[in-house]
Amino acid sequence: MSDAAFLGVTAAIAAGSLAGTWSLRRAWRLKGSKGRSRWKGLALLGATLLWPASVLGEARGPFIAVTLMSVVALGLVASSYTIRPARARRAGREGLAPEPAKRAPSAWRTALRWALAGPIGMVAAMGLGTGYAVWAPGEIQTRLLIGGLIVPLAWGSAMAWTLADSRILRATAVLVGTAIIGFGAAMLKGLT
């Protein structure tokens, strides 16, 4: 593809992203009957995500589209900023999102919580990833790569969960159990 054609495609992606985000913002601003603009916006963004696959490549196209889409959307959000007067300071504070939960301080619970979010979560995630790589169907490289991607995803999820959940003994049981089952299943079959 020539440079000019590539620029044309990216310009079309940017235009589709702008039109889609614009429609969504219109729906967001409307007091009632948001449905039509919302669906129009979602459809435009969906189409802008999909059609580049046929022009720029099945993975390359959507990745370029989603990257440009984020920039265009943020640009639109930034362009419609509003200035709050200084007197809104106090009212603003009161109307904010919820406060984080407060927990009674406990050294051993804090230590266990971070151990679960860190090394124990990592071992559990690795057990899950290894178990997938061994037992899932498909080519060996695909299984290993998807298994590999499962590891940060599962570990990140375990972190989010254990740092939020107060029932840390339940979290301990689930993570240790996951690690044992994952690695056990992997050792049982072996990689073929």
Partner: protein
Amino acid sequence: MTKTTMTKSKKRAGFPSPDLVRAVLKGHSGLGLAFAALLYLVCLTGATAVFANEFYRWENPGVERMESLSADAAQLAYREAIARTEGAAEHVLILMPSEDRPWPSVRVTAEDGTQTNWIVDSAGRITGTLRESWTHFITRLHINLHLPQSWGILIVGLSGVALVSSLISGLLAHPRIFRDAFHLRVGGSRRLQEADLHNRLGVWALPFHVTISLTGALLGLSTIIIGAVGLAVFQGDTAKVYAIFTPPHPVEDTRPAPPIDLQPLFARVAERAPEGRISHVIVEHPTEQGASARFDVESSTSRIANSDTYAFDRAGTIYYEQQAAKNNMGQQILGSLGQLHFGWFGGGLVKIAYALLGLGLTYLAAGGVNIWLARRRDKGRPAPGWERIWAATVWGQPLALTGTALVALFTPAPIALIWTWAAVSLAALGTAAVWSPSALSQIGRAGTGTLLMALALAHPVVVGTGDSMALIIDGALGLIGFGLLAISVTWRRSRTAGVQTV
């Protein structure tokens, strides 16, 4: 939720319930604070490293540019590079000219591990060594923080996992995700302003954040993941896991021999892939009987990972061949990880988009701590010490990185850059004991702006102006510097005039 003081909602709440939101917010806040400085540094250096190839050109503006290099010239350069190496050459990497880096280079790794990167002209003559100290500094700071390789990569991979976790908890802790989708309120409460910026950046750039954090975490954790798989299914033999992805090696034969002849191999590759462009050649043990040469050829597929591979032994026999068009999904993912992580899959426009989104992610890391500090201040429990330390951290890094770029103009020694970065970072933290957060921000902003402008002016004088890319980068650095300085001056004037700014 035992042992917590959180209140339970009497009403039946939808998902996520207020209690869940508050609990998740607690975890999100704790994790963000624990990793904030590391995430900030990794994201800032990552956003800069997107332009690694452009910075190579910026550091070497006088090098002869070309679209291609003949097989004869490549052979000549490779032989001369080996001849200049003290002791036996272990590996040789010949990088052919490309759109991003329009000149060839030959990197030789000697037996003792020392590496020399030679620049080559279109006739294959070596014209000098590559200047790469700053590009190398910034990329290695991003990849392994200049720590011992395995530990550094692991720590950066861990920051990727922390980012994945923060994205998950951030989404769960954001019940007004749709209601606030387009709200960006500036002024008034600082906490509200920071929260708006944090949430809008986090939500609208979510696909980018997921891509960056997952690919980064996988790249960083790959060694221990392979170790775990090897331990679980190959009795600890990780070589068997690597062998699934890498080309096999020819039979080892360490008897000395003249450098493997690449010319006929170039011809064989041209026969097999007449439309392809050789991106690089890796020669293993070139002066041993068991030498091998691997050619990576950019094919005409539109896949992100579009490299065909041909590996030859000394006799010129192909012992491994892999076509990008026939790659399975796993091989495609593997080949795409680096390009997706650094934004090297869609030309200059995608690189600029990646840099902007990367800076947004950097702000996300910094803004999270700002929200926490503003919340404490709102609650009547300010943390002035942490406010100063955080301001020094946030503004110390741009100052330190710009300082290293300035030093790199005068010395190619990588260690000088590491010391400069460490010294400026520590000095910035030291000033936190003296100056207020607002003074630290202003001085950091003005200092970075001034240094960037000095860099933009000094670079053409010291290094040269032979490459238009170098001039573009100098122009961009000068503009960014001017912008920072202008913001700093405006901020100071408004303060002097008694106008309250946020």
